[in-house]
Subunit: 320 residues, 2 copies
């Protein structure tokens, strides 16, 4: 069935028109009850699943192509945080009944572009109507050499805190789209809508712990600390911010430290590996910045330029 | 982190209390960005994903333990339809903000019972709030001998149409819960809430095509027909109905033929393999019934006791 057959319900036509072209090897053209995957020999598989709800994780009027791409990218970011290479994905779509065909076409186009870019294909999924907001769930499958997966645990006192790219753009981008932050060239909104998963860095043996920053830098650093039974101190002035984030003004510094949707990698790095990390991040074009260090203790302290503790009234985002 | 840490947002406490106890090998206690799975050597992996929305796929007042179990079982049914053995699953939960802790506890208890029963564990997932109805998505992972997966395509003219168990209980159970069908001992409601995935049947080499009946017998048989470029004829009187479905009255026969939520296996079986299928289905306790045959053509005809075509005004369910 490569075309919507007459007489079939709308669900099947929708899948045939928009999702079947995304299907890759093993997906069996989305015509069977399940998909098949021959696992890459000698590799460990890596799995992650994230859900996005309209009005919670993306704006209902975000362009559909960026919604599809973001759904895929936030999951690929989790694979990147584990040091895994992406392979395939499954997706479930719960759409309001009045969702137009054009929305699905654009949503699929965003996925198609990213599939080509990141080297993944659709393996399967489910499409249904919902009386609620658009709700999208994606399960990403990756692979890694056995024993080479990066973990959140493993930081040691004296390890440095490093982060890729820039922090805060996602949170400021959301505020820009709400008209609360100036974003003359749309850079911040673009970073909110199209995060860049930091795949391709060969971090095994370089970092002692790793995760992606999705719920806010300070809160997520707290996860690395708890997993290691440590504290950490970071210097606010060292936290890398984009020119657009700096142009928004220093009043937004705390938002950059605690806002969500960065999808950069946050790493514990033994000092002797810092040069290797810098070289790799430069080669990937994302850069990496040392922002602090792990130390004995159990809390994350943020210091200002004078060495005083910055008081943050929130540490990050929860979606519940 | 084996307990909800003070100061962490509600999302993390919820996961720690209810979902971490479901986590199995490779889930890394749900503390990392993704999960690890060492694929069973020499096996092909099988993937399926289904979503359930409150008010669409289950009733908002269905007991939470059966909601969790049904979410898992409808996916395991897809694995069964491919002839796969279940391994693990990932799950995303989008819950209304006012969902009580007791709901999550019961939901997880239903999953825990079924995990033990079906031999699967939770590998990962995501939990978020939604302003809409409870929306649950599950990706199930199974495995099968290479090349031994059952497919929807493959039926030949002359193959018999067989189905496991009984058909129509799910649709009548939904109507019973709405007060439209009599269900004195709750059998029908139970079948709607807790479908039985037909795992454990060694159908490779026995059946020429297979799928599970989720959207209605006649519509789903149409899928097997289209995949083979064939038609089929079934005899309404042969379609196996439970004592409770028969007691509901002959007026509901068409509902049994076209209603959804059966999760029985629908198979194309060469006549010489019928005895082998019967023996296996008897050993599994579900039984199997021959209801018709595949033939040249392109439509599914349902015949009554006099050999006249039964006119069905709908073929099955679409969730879109």
């Amino acid at each position: 069935m490569t075309r919507p057959s007459p007489g079939l319900p709308a669900e099947f036509g929708l899948i045939a028109r928009h999702f079947r072209p995304l299907a890759g090897p093993g997906a069996l053209d989305l015509l069977d009850d399940a998909a098949l995957l021959q696992p890459p020999p000698g590799r460990e598989l890596v799995f992650t699943a994230d859900v996005m709800v309209a009005g919670v994780h993306f704006l209902p009027n975000d362009p559909a192509d960026t919604v599809g791409a973001k759904l895929l990218r936030v999951n690929l970011s989790d694979l990147a945080a584990m040091g895994a290479a992406p392979l395939a994905y499954l997706m479930t779509v719960s759409a309001p009944r009045d969702t137009g065909d054009a929305w699905f076409a654009a949503f699929a186009a965003g996925l198609a572009r990213d599939q080509a870019w990141f080297g993944v294909t659709l393996l399967g999924g489910d499409t249904t109507a919902t009386p609620g907001p658009m709700t999208l769930s994606l399960t990403a499958i990756g692979h890694v050499a056995p024993g080479a997966a990066l973990r959140r645990r493993g930081a040691a006192a004296g390890d440095e805190v490093w982060v890729t790219g820039t922090v805060g753009d996602g949170a400021l981008g959301l505020l820009a789209l709400r008209g609360q932050v100036s974003d003359p060239d749309g850079w911040l909104a673009g970073r909110y809508r199209l995060p860049q998963p930091r795949l391709g860095l060969a971090l095994h043996g370089i970092v002692s712990a790793c995760m992606d920053v999705s719920d806010g830098l300070v809160q997520d650093l707290g996860h690395l600390c708890r997993a290691a039974g440590l504290g950490a101190v970071i210097e606010a002035a060292r936290v890398p911010r984009s020119p657009a984030a700096r142009a928004a003004g220093e009043a937004w510094l705390k938002t950059c430290l605690t806002g969500g949707d960065d999808y950069e990698l946050l790493m514990a790095v033994p000092p002797q590996h810092a040069d290797a990390l810098l070289a790799m991040a430069a080669a990937q074009g994302c850069g990496a910045t040392r922002i602090g260090r792990f130390e004995a203790g159990e809390e994350v302290r943020v210091l200002d330029g004078a060495g005083a503790v910055v008081n943050l009234n929130r540490q990050g985002w929860s979606h519940f």
